[in-house]
């Protein structure tokens, strides 16, 4: 599986790659943390049937209904935010890492931002 054309060790140690990994971890970590609080808290507290969740809001609707109904829109908002950061920040960073790694082979691998290995080689 090792691809002899690329110095993987050098890429792994490069500043650009390490910055990409750090940024990705921070973005995904923040999103996962938000989900754990909003969704994990919901599951735990509604499981424990915490009193305040049964308080009436409008008609038969209680606090727990509002919190439950907000879960899916919340997932949409987190996903939309992640998709946006990934597109605007992470994708260009990853493209730069690929371009740097392929720079020495630019003459033999046109389209250096793409993958060097064709389907058959990978």
């Amino acid at each position: 599986m090792l691809d002899p054309a690329i110095d993987w060790e050098a890429v792994a140690a490069s500043d650009a790659f390490r910055a990409l990994v750090r940024r990705q971890r921070r973005v995904a970590g923040a999103a996962v943390g938000a989900v754990m609080l909003f969704y994990g808290g919901f599951v735990l507290l509604s499981g424990l049937q915490v009193g305040v969740l049964g308080d009436r809001l409008v008609g038969p609707f209680t606090v727990v209904h509002l919190w439950a109904a907000a879960q899916i829109p919340f997932a949409w908002i987190v996903a939309a935010a992640y998709l946006r950061v990934a597109r605007e920040e992470l994708d260009p960073m990853a493209a730069a890492v690929r371009a740097d790694a392929m720079a020495p082979y630019a003459s033999i691998a046109p389209g250096a931002t793409g993958a060097p290995a064709a389907e058959v080689l990978a």
Binding site: M1, E9, V43, I72, R98, E119
Partner: protein, 521 residues
């Protein structure tokens, strides 16, 4: 009163046959474009993000979602809606943690991702075992479900219905591979959304578009009254946490979902398609309480008998009621539409699951383990088709013999296996440099064995339904078996010799940056 058909329902049968002919026509088109291994396993990686998003949504909604979740909401109210929420959040977890890394690191199967950095043969074998355990359980339960639904709604004998559904699914996969499977899944998602939307609007129309009225009428028809609308009717806190953990993390370990990321050109496209799928699935899941509570509110005292003990026929019964009741033309038309959609939901889903099973046998076991990557594409595809046929026949026979299987038990178990066996290994394979092949194998086996064992020792099974004094107190094993899966990975890794760091570095760079990821040829 019951909705179980005593004679063949002509309209439903016609719709059912139209669907079969339509999807087989699509399969014929797909078969003409399927030549290479990449075509067969990954549709040539040319699926558009929109199509893949709709297909992921289709792959994420089995009959358990369409009929099962709505049936559960009908039966236990609020606690049933937790299934809708947990599965939706699972898709978000997949997006945030694994989707892009899997697309960058892998090729066709879950085993490919692990074999990219670990000693290939043992991890391919372990990945194949867990994939086949998940796929096998799904194939059997969904085929049994197809038999039950088709018999109840269309009036064909369940055994004939099982054999017919399996044959149609085998044709999609065997001839059209991933391309046909994708198109069938897209069609299925469309049908599922359309029928759910129509039924939801009709339900809301009956209650004057007043959600409060829907809740009031639903709780009035349930013996638990107001408690029906509050948490705790079905699960206590521990069971609730354990269930939600397994449902959410199960998405991150489902081999048939991971396989869909390989059908698009690159990681950003996989990410976009998953975003779309999350939108579609979330939308559908928001309709599930309208359908489940609607069935409770509108079917009245007869509802329990009509929906069946598992609640699976709550939506078909609701459809008949909304159309004007049994015997009315409107009722028959809506019932036929629901029956046809349920059939499409099941065959599309099992086709996707079968792709993952065939991948485990032909790509991981045959190509990877037996032939050590030396078989040519023609041979791999021949093995893929033969194994599809064999697995399909075995699943059909088991489904016919096991029609009284406890479907809810097996359905929940599948998610627990995916979450306990596959999720820990996949997460650690792209984040933990010290993971070894031994760790991966031990982790996967620990996950499968602990999920299955704890489920057998749980009150749902030991020594019979609703028993007291069973050795494991929770109906849902996830909260114990998922940590055990991680523990197995860790123990196996630290007790075995480290693997070459160069292979970790290659996989790490590949997974995070997409450098060297496979692209459409």
């Amino acid at each position: 009163m019951t909705i179980v058909a005593t004679e063949v329902n002509g309209l439903a049968l016609t719709l059912f046959l139209v669907l079969v002919v339509l999807t087989l026509g699509v399969t014929l088109l797909a078969a003409r474009r399927t030549h290479s291994a990449s075509d067969f396993w990954a549709a040539g990686r040319r699926i558009s993000p929109t199509q893949n998003g709709l297909a992921i949504a289709g792959e994420y909604t089995s009959a358990s979602a369409f009929l099962g979740i709505t049936g559960l909401i009908f039966l236990v109210g609020f606690d049933g809606f937790l299934y809708s929420i947990a599965t939706t959040v699972g898709l978000l977890g997949l997006l945030l943690v694994l989707a892009e890394r899997m697309r960058n690191a892998g090729r066709y199967t879950l085993g490919d991702v692990l074999a990219a950095r670990l000693h290939a043969r043992p991890v391919r074998a372990a990945a194949a075992v867990s994939t086949l355990a998940i796929a096998g359980a799904y194939l059997v339960t969904q085929l049994v479900g197809a038999g039950a639904v088709v018999q109840a709604l269309i009036g064909i004998d369940a055994r004939v219905a099982i054999a017919l559904s399996a044959s149609v699914m085998l044709a999609y996969v065997g001839f059209g591979g991933m391309l046909a499977t994708t198109w069938v899944l897209v069609l299925k998602t469309g049908l599922l959304l359309a029928i759910s939307l129509v039924l939801s609007v009709l339900v809301l129309n009956r209650v004057g578009f007043d959600p409060s009225e829907l809740l009031r009428r639903a709780s009035a028809h349930h013996p638990a009254g107001d408690a029906y609308l509050q948490p705790g009717l079905a699960f206590d806190a521990w069971n609730m946490v354990s269930l939600c953990l397994a449902l959410t993390l199960g998405a991150l370990g489902s081999p048939y979902l991971l396989m869909r990321f390989f059908t698009v050109r690159d990681a950003p496209t996989a990410r976009r398609s998953l975003g779309l799928a999350l939108g579609v699935i979330g939308g559908f899941m928001l309709l599930t309480p309208i359908l489940g509570l609607g069935a409770r509110a509108l079917l009245g005292p007869d509802g329990i008998a009509m929906a069946g003990p598992s609640g699976n026929l709550a939506v078909p019964a609701l459809a008949q009621e909304l159309g004007g009741g049994g015997g009315s033309t409107g009722g028959e038309v809506l019932l036929a539409l629901v029956a046809a959609s349920a059939f499409a939901v099941i065959v599309g889903f099992v086709a996707g699951v079968m792709m993952a099973a065939a991948g485990a046998v032909a790509h991981d076991c045959w190509q990877g383990i037996v032939r050590r990557e030396r078989a040519d594409e023609r041979e791999e595809l021949l093995v893929a088709r033969v194994s599809t046929l064999v697995l399909g026949v075995v699943a059909t026979v088991v489904a016919i013999l096991a029609q009284n299987l406890n479907l809810a038990f097996l359905g929940g178990l599948v998610f627990a296996i995916a979450a306990s066996a596959n999720f820990p290994v996949l997460l650690l394979s792209v984040t933990w440099p010290r993971l070894t092949a031994t760790g991966a194998v031990v982790g996967m086996l620990t996950g499968v064995v602990s999920a299955v064992t704890l489920a057998i020792l749980s009150p749902a099974v030991w020594p019979g339904p609703d028993s007291h004094g069973s050795p494991f107190p929770l109906a849902q094993p996830g909260i114990v078996s998922i940590p055990l899966g991680f523990l197995g990975c860790w123990l196996g890794s630290v007790l075995s010799r480290p693997e070459p760091v160069a292979r970790w570095e290659e996989l790490h760079v590949r997974a995070e940056s997409g450098l060297g990821a496979v692209t459409p040829s």
